[in-house]
């Protein structure tokens, strides 16, 4: 049946009077399209604006369909009658056309007399922007949300009225909140009345959103100007002085030159070229070329040239200074009317204070997380160095060993969560064994010879580091965190902290608790403390100091291994990662005070906060931050050579 009809239509199509005749040429939407027919047909991005605006603003229900199908390249124009139709290509030569006003199927026609409108991507973008208003009232919530996203990305003045219309309508509270906020933002940018804009600006006082600052910043834009006397007026943002903050003397003079208030100056390069092009018989304006090897001589020669009229006269240093002293420099608001600009400046100041507060909060969080990392790296060292008095330069390599254990486990166990859970005890076991082996083989021969312990453990350190390089290569190996540690906890646009850092912080707290528990509540801890305080007395009480030393050293090394897994999650695993932490770890222990876990905690906090604080002062340069931090620590040790919490009594003399 359909096929017969189709065939009929094809056969009869050319014979029938043009189906376009059946179109409603007087439908309001068609009339509107006809009004802009020429520019629509021209399809040029520069001229198409009014047509799209007229359609979007027409308030006609059909406008949305027209815009959508135009955007989809489904609108054609009948070259004969000049009427617009929707059309679908049936095959190469045949079109099925529909009425623009009613969408009514007008049958199939040959495409000879029809031209397709082919809006380019620029025009399609403009149509999309115009369509947003229709999408905002779309029943589908995802469409509405997408429309809001589009407005946020690329707001236009025309969106304001749409948003205001939508504001009062129904919708989920989330949607309405977004609409309301966006409406205020657009009011700031596009509203006609200053009072409206100021009210909107004031409504954002203290808001931390980046979008608010983005909306306000253009309003307080200023232009530097120069004049003989300070002008009056509300649009003057403030006076600037040459050669002080914000305006160099050179820039100020350029302002004067641009404003036609002073003659230009000449650069050394331009002066040289001018002189070179005026060399005659080995002299410039009668001055020997050979003598022009100083700036003064060149200035004289140029002056002489200017007097002959060969070059333009330029200002001398004295004239420049006089001109600078003669004029005032000021900034003028150009982004908005003065009242709005002042309100924006006020709001920005208010927001700035709040931003600064939140930044310091964020900085404090960063400091805490860095402190936890240092604490983790240093806690094992605090045990071996602090409790036993043994310098272990290979501590960093134990951290590395733990991290590589984690890496190897991840090669075997593909599930990230499970592999981390396995890696932590395994890393402890591996480094515990390495620590015990090192204590038995090397360190126990060197008690009471701390400097030589330092050297011997350093030998172990370079051997282990090179060994890791030989086994795992020089490139960084990844230690991937489980998925639930990805992302970060976002408090607002400024304060956020990644879950990995929180996990490291929690781990640090756990270690502290574990250390306190072991040292204060277990038999082992009691014996360790006894051996630390007086090995001979402890031995005569039946404690085996050799065994205790071995276990303590193993315990400290094992903790370094776990710290390695944690640090590996946060940074890359390389054979040199231990060396990166060893000096900071020693600093942490020394600053905190040897032999006291609270001291180590304080030391880590101080070192972490200090480093973040210095980085904040000079954010572009973490190297400088580390340099200054180390310098600070060196000075700190001058005043508290035994750390924040020094050992007291007899133990201090060991």
């Amino acid at each position: 049946m359909t096929r017969i009809l189709l065939t009929l239509a094809c056969l009869l199509g050319p014979l029938l009077s043009a189906p376009a005749a059946a179109q409603q040429a007087d439908a309001p939407i068609q009339v509107l399209l006809q009004e802009h027919g020429e520019i629509i047909a021209e399809s040029s991005r520069r001229s198409i604006g009014p047509a799209i605006d007229a359609l979007a603003d027409s308030g006609m229900p059909e406008a949305q369909a027209v815009l959508e199908r135009w955007q989809a390249k489904e609108m054609w124009i009948d070259a004969a009658s000049g009427l617009f139709v929707f059309a679908e290509e049936v095959d190469r030569d045949t079109l099925r056309i529909f009425d623009v006003a009613t969408g009514e199927d007008l049958g199939e026609v040959p495409d000879d007399t029809y031209d397709q409108l082919k809006p380019n991507s620029g025009i399609r973008g403009m149509i999309a922007a115009a369509l947003v208003r229709f999408q905002l009232i779309d029943p589908d919530p995802t469409v509405r949300a997408t429309a809001l996203d589009a407005i946020e990305r690329d707001p236009e003045a025309s969106h304001l009225s749409v948003l205001r219309a939508v504001k009062g309508s129904d919708g989920t509270p989330d949607f309405l909140t977004r609409v309301e906020r966006l409406e205020r933002l657009l009011t700031i940018r596009f509203a006609e009345e200053d009072a409206e804009r100021i009210a909107a600006i004031e409504s954002f006082a203290g808001d931390l959103g980046v979008d608010v600052r983005a909306a306000l910043n253009p309003l307080v834009a200023t232009r530097l100007e120069a004049a003989k006397t300070m002008p009056d007026g509300p649009d003057i943002a403030g006076r600037l002085y040459p050669d002080r903050e914000g305006l160099s003397a050179g820039d100020a003079y350029v302002l004067l030159v641009d404003a036609g208030l002073a003659p230009p100056r000449i650069s050394g390069e331009a002066q040289r070229q001018a002189l070179e092009s005026n060399i005659q018989n080995g002299a410039v304006a009668g001055i020997e070329v050979a003598t022009l090897s100083t700036q003064t001589a060149r200035d004289l020669a140029y002056r002489a040239l200017a007097e002959t009229g060969a070059v333009d006269p330029v200002a001398t240093e004295g004239e420049v200074n006089a001109a600078l002293a003669d004029h005032v420099f000021f900034a003028r608001y150009i982004g908005a009317p003065p009242a709005v600009a002042q309100a924006a400046a006020l709001a920005l100041g208010d927001i700035g204070n709040k931003v600064a507060f939140n930044r310091s909060l964020d900085l404090a969080l960063d400091g805490i997380s860095l402190a936890s990392i240092y604490f983790l790296a240093a806690i094992g060292l605090a045990i071996t160095f602090g409790v036993m008095g043994v310098i272990n330069m290979a501590h960093g390599e134990f951290i590395m060993m733990g991290a590589y254990t984690g890496f190897v486990v991840q090669q075997v166990v593909p599930d990230y969560t499970l592999s981390i859970i396995l890696a932590i005890p395994l890393a402890f076991a591996v480094t515990f064994a390495a620590g015990v082996a090192m204590e038995r083989l090397v360190i126990r021969w060197l008690y009471h010879r701390p400097l030589e312990t330092l050297l011997a453990t350093f030998g172990v350190s370079i051997a282990l580091q090179q060994l890791a390089k030989n086994i795992f290569g020089t490139q960084a190996r990844p230690l991937t965190a489980p998925g639930w540690l990805d992302g970060s906890l976002v408090v607002n646009d400024i304060v956020s902290i990644s879950y990995i850092r929180i996990a490291i912080f929690v781990l640090a707290i756990l270690f502290l608790a574990m250390f306190l528990l072991v040292m204060n509540r277990t038999r082992l801890g009691l014996e360790v403390r006894a051996v630390t305080q007086n090995p001979r007395m402890a031995a005569s009480m039946g404690i085996n100091p050799d065994r205790i030393n071995m276990l303590t050293f193993g315990f400290g090394s094992g903790i370094a291994g776990i710290a390695g897994v944690a640090i590996g999650l946060y940074a890359k695993v390389t054979s040199e990662m231990g060396a990166d932490y060893i000096v900071q770890s020693f600093m942490t222990v020394v600053v905190g005070g040897v032999g006291n876990i609270w001291g180590t905690l304080l030391g880590a906090t101080m070192v972490g906060f200090l480093q973040k604080g210095i980085e904040w002062l000079n954010p572009s340069n973490t190297l400088a931050a580390q340099t200054y931090m180390i310098l600070f620590i060196i000075f700190f040790i001058q005043f508290r050579p035994r750390g924040i919490i020094p050992l007291k009594g007899r133990a201090a003399e060991v």
């Binding site: 050394g268 040289r272 002189l275 070179e276 060399i279 070329v289 050979a290 022009l292 090897s293 100083t294 700036q295 060149r298 310098i391 090397v442 021969w445 060197l446 009471h448 010879r449 701390p450 400097l451 030589e452 330092l454 050297l455 011997a456 350093f458 030998g459 172990v460 350190s461 370079i462 051997a463 282990l464 580091q465 090179q466 060994l467 390089k469 030989n470 060396a579 000096v583 020693f586 600093m587 020394v590 340069n621 190297l623 400088a624 580390q626 340099t627 180390i630 310098l631 620590i633 060196i634 000075f635 040790i637 001058q638 005043f639 050579p641």
Partner: protein, 423 residues
């Protein structure tokens, strides 16, 4: 000299000459002179050409390393201060001379290129041109303030001595004054070294960041002299510096002064209670050795041709301690032997010349495994041969002291012994 003479006279002994007290000094000086002569005769520049110019440079650099090892031995082996910062002083000396070398050579290049211009260049243009040449690589075009004296050889030569010396003086004064000793001092000096190298790694440090200073092997104004000749000049200078440095160190460690610093090493508190200004002695030794290290560095880097902050990294200073420990600390020739032996061996192993060892299932490539071997042998030396290679000479001379009990803790006869230290 007068003080020594006085004190020995007071003790009722005949005054003796420095060399007569130390037979080893004569032997050392003789060997050094023979070695210098031998290398000269065998070199390409002045001799029959058996030794290549690059190897002459390696030998010259090794002599400089021996000099800094000598300084390390003085401060550590004799005074008991395990400084992990002497390679930083060494590097500072290198930077100081490198600044002049680079400035003067660039000045010649820039002046030549500007001479072609129609107008004679102004001093400002020359200076701008040099700055652009030197600092273009770090995106700057102006001289940082620390280059204020780079144009003057005498001033930069003074800086070779003054910069490491002043740094050591200030650092040592701060550290010794607050009684930072032992491992704490080692860690503190290591921190200083790390801070310095991190600072130099920055592009805005004024010393070209991690690019360092390069082209130092070309002496300004002597472009026509072939490298084979220049390398020998530096070789002689290094040998001379080592010889003079050795004499200076011998002078310092002999006599009363030497006894006092050894006393400080063995028991600082006891020395202090005996009334010696321990801090002053330590500060003097620390600063003196820093200056020696700076001079060694100033001779080393023109032969190496390039200096960058990696050379100052803490690891370098630790290697210095390794050399001295392996050579045998507490005896000056031990430091020289250690530095020469280990650094030449390192060059040989890491240069890829050492034959690989095939184990059937695995081939040991020394480029990879040399550091492991070095680390482990270092542990072994510390544990089993605290006197290092120098200890072998004791076996030959059979200079064992039977007067005290327990094994030696230090390599020096009379050092604190194990049994006594536990009291």
């Amino acid at each position: 000299m007068a003080e020594t003479t006085l004190s020995t006279q007071r003790a009722g002994r005949k005054p003796r000459f420095l060399l007569a007290d130390n037979a080893s000094v004569l032997i050392f000086m003789g060997l050094l002179a023979l070695f210098t002569l031998g290398v000269t005769v065998l070199s390409e520049g002045f001799g029959i050409g058996v030794i290549s110019t690059s190897f002459v440079k390696t030998l010259g650099k090794t002599l400089c390393l021996c000099l800094v090892a000598l300084a390390m031995d003085l401060v550590w082996g004799y005074c008991g201060i395990l400084s992990l910062g002497h390679m930083a002083f060494f590097g500072l000396g290198g930077y100081a001379i490198g600044m002049w070398l680079m400035y003067a050579r660039t000045e010649i290049i820039v002046t030549e290129s500007l001479a072609a211009a129609a107008l004679p260049p102004t001093p400002q243009e020359i200076s701008d041109g040099i700055a652009a040449q030197i600092f273009g690589v770090v995106g700057a075009s102006e001289f940082p303030p620390i280059w204020a004296f780079a144009h003057s050889l005498p001033l930069q030569l003074a800086a070779v001595v003054l910069v490491p010396g002043l740094l050591a003086l200030v650092f040592g004064w701060l550290a010794f004054r607050s009684r930072v000793t032992g491992v704490y001092l080692s860690i503190l000096t290591q921190a200083m070294t790390l801070a310095l190298s991190l600072y130099l790694f920055q592009n805005d440090s004024g010393l070209r960041g991690n690019n360092g200073l390069s082209g130092l092997q070309n002496l300004p104004g002597l472009g026509d002299v072939p490298q084979s000749t220049v390398s020998l000049w530096f070789f002689w200078a290094s040998a001379l510096a080592l010889g003079l440095g050795y004499l200076l160190c011998v002078r310092v460690v002999s006599g009363k002064f030497g006894s006092v610093i050894r006393a400080i090493r063995d028991d600082e508190s006891r020395a202090r209670f005996l009334g010696y200004p321990v801090e002053g002695y330590k500060l003097f030794i620390f600063t003196l050795t820093a200056i020696l290290a700076g001079i060694a560095g100033a001779l080393y880097y023109p032969q190496a041709g390039i200096i960058n902050p990696a050379e100052i990294a803490p690891i370098a200073s630790i290697y210095l301690a390794v050399w001295v420990a392996i050579g045998g600390r507490g005896r000056l020739y031990g430091a020289v032997i250690g530095a020469a032996f280990v650094s030449l061996l390192s060059t040989w192993f890491t240069g890829g010349q050492a034959p690989d060892v095939s184990l059937g299932f695995y081939t040991i490539q020394w480029v990879d495994w040399w550091t492991v071997l070095l680390g482990l042998s270092f542990v072994a030396v510390t544990l089993f041969a605290p006197k290092g290679i120098g200890g072998l000479f004791d076996l030959i001379a059979d200079r064992r002291h039977q007067d005290r009990h327990g094994a030696d803790l230090g390599p020096e006869p009379g050092a604190l012994r194990e049994k006594e230290s536990q009291v």
